[in-house]
Amino acid sequence: MVTLRYEIEGGNFNLAGRASSQVKKVLKQLNIDSRLIKKIVVALYEGEVNIVAHAHRGVIEVAIKPDRVDMILTDKGPGIPDVEAAMREGFSTASQKVREMGFGAGMGLPNIKKNTDCLHIDTKVGSGTTLTMTKYFDHGEE
C-alpha cells in the first residue's frame, strides 16, 4: 500500500492541482490503467480545487491499495449548507474570483460522483467538510 498526504492552502490558486498532479505521477509509476488514472485524478483535482476555492485549509490523504484508491479530503471551512443542492449540476456558491479561474460552474461534486465508485460527504456548517471517495481498479469499467 502507498499512502500520500498533502496540506492544501485555501485561496492559493497557484498551487491548486499540485497534490493531484503528484498523485497522478505515483499512479503512473504503479502502472495503473490510464483511463482509471484519469477518473481518479479528475475527481481528486475537483476536490482539491473545492478546498482552494471554498475553505481556509485542508488535507488530502490518498491510500493506493491493491484493489482500489481511497481518498479523504478534509477541510476547515464554511461547510456545505445544502448537500443535495450541491450535488445538482449547475448549483454553485463559488465567488467571482473562483469563476474567473474557470471554475464554480457547479460541476465539481457531480463530476466527483461520476468518476468514483463511492462518495461520502460529511459536512458541518461553519466547521468544514470531509469527502471520502473510493475508486476500484476492476469495478464499474466498461
Partner: protein, 113 residues
C-alpha cells in the same frame, strides 16, 4: 488533423512542446475548466481563452495533450514551465474562438459532442 496544419490554418505560434507528427481527432472549446473536466474523449485539442495555471492543470488531469489559446492570449512563463513539465503542447492564435472553431470544423475536425 495534423497539428502542423492547425498552426498553418490559424496563423498560430507554438509556445510549448512539439507538434512533429502529432494529431488531434476532436476539438472542445470552453473557458470553463469545470466543463473541460467532464470530457472523457481522447486526443482532443482544448480551444480556450482562459489563461492561467489551472488551464494547464486541467489539461494535465484530463489527459489533454494540446491547448490552443485564442483571442491573441499569451501563455504566462509559469504556464509554459508547467506545460513543458507535463508534456503539453501550447499554441497561440490571434483569431477569435468563433473563427478558430469555424476554420477547424470546416477543415474536418470533429466536435466532442
Amino acid at each position: 488533423m495534423e497539428l502542423e496544419k492547425v498552426i498553418q490554418l490559424l496563423e498560430a505560434r507554438l509556445v510549448s512542446g512539439s507538434i512533429a507528427g502529432k494529431r488531434i481527432d476532436r476539438g472542445f472549446c470552453s473557458d470553463l475548466m469545470s466543463d473541460v473536466l467532464t470530457i472523457d474523449t481522447e486526443r482532443i485539442i482544448l480551444i480556450t481563452g482562459m489563461v492561467n495555471l489551472q488551464t494547464i492543470r486541467t489539461a494535465e488531469m484530463a489527459d489533454i495533450q494540446t491547448i490552443l489559446l485564442v483571442r491573441n492570449k499569451k501563455a504566462t512563463p509559469e504556464m509554459i514551465r508547467l506545460a513543458e513539465e507535463s508534456g503539453i503542447t501550447v499554441i497561440e492564435t490571434p483569431f477569435s474562438a468563433f473563427k478558430t472553431c469555424g476554420l477547424l470544423f470546416t477543415e474536418g475536425l470533429k466536435p466532442v459532442y
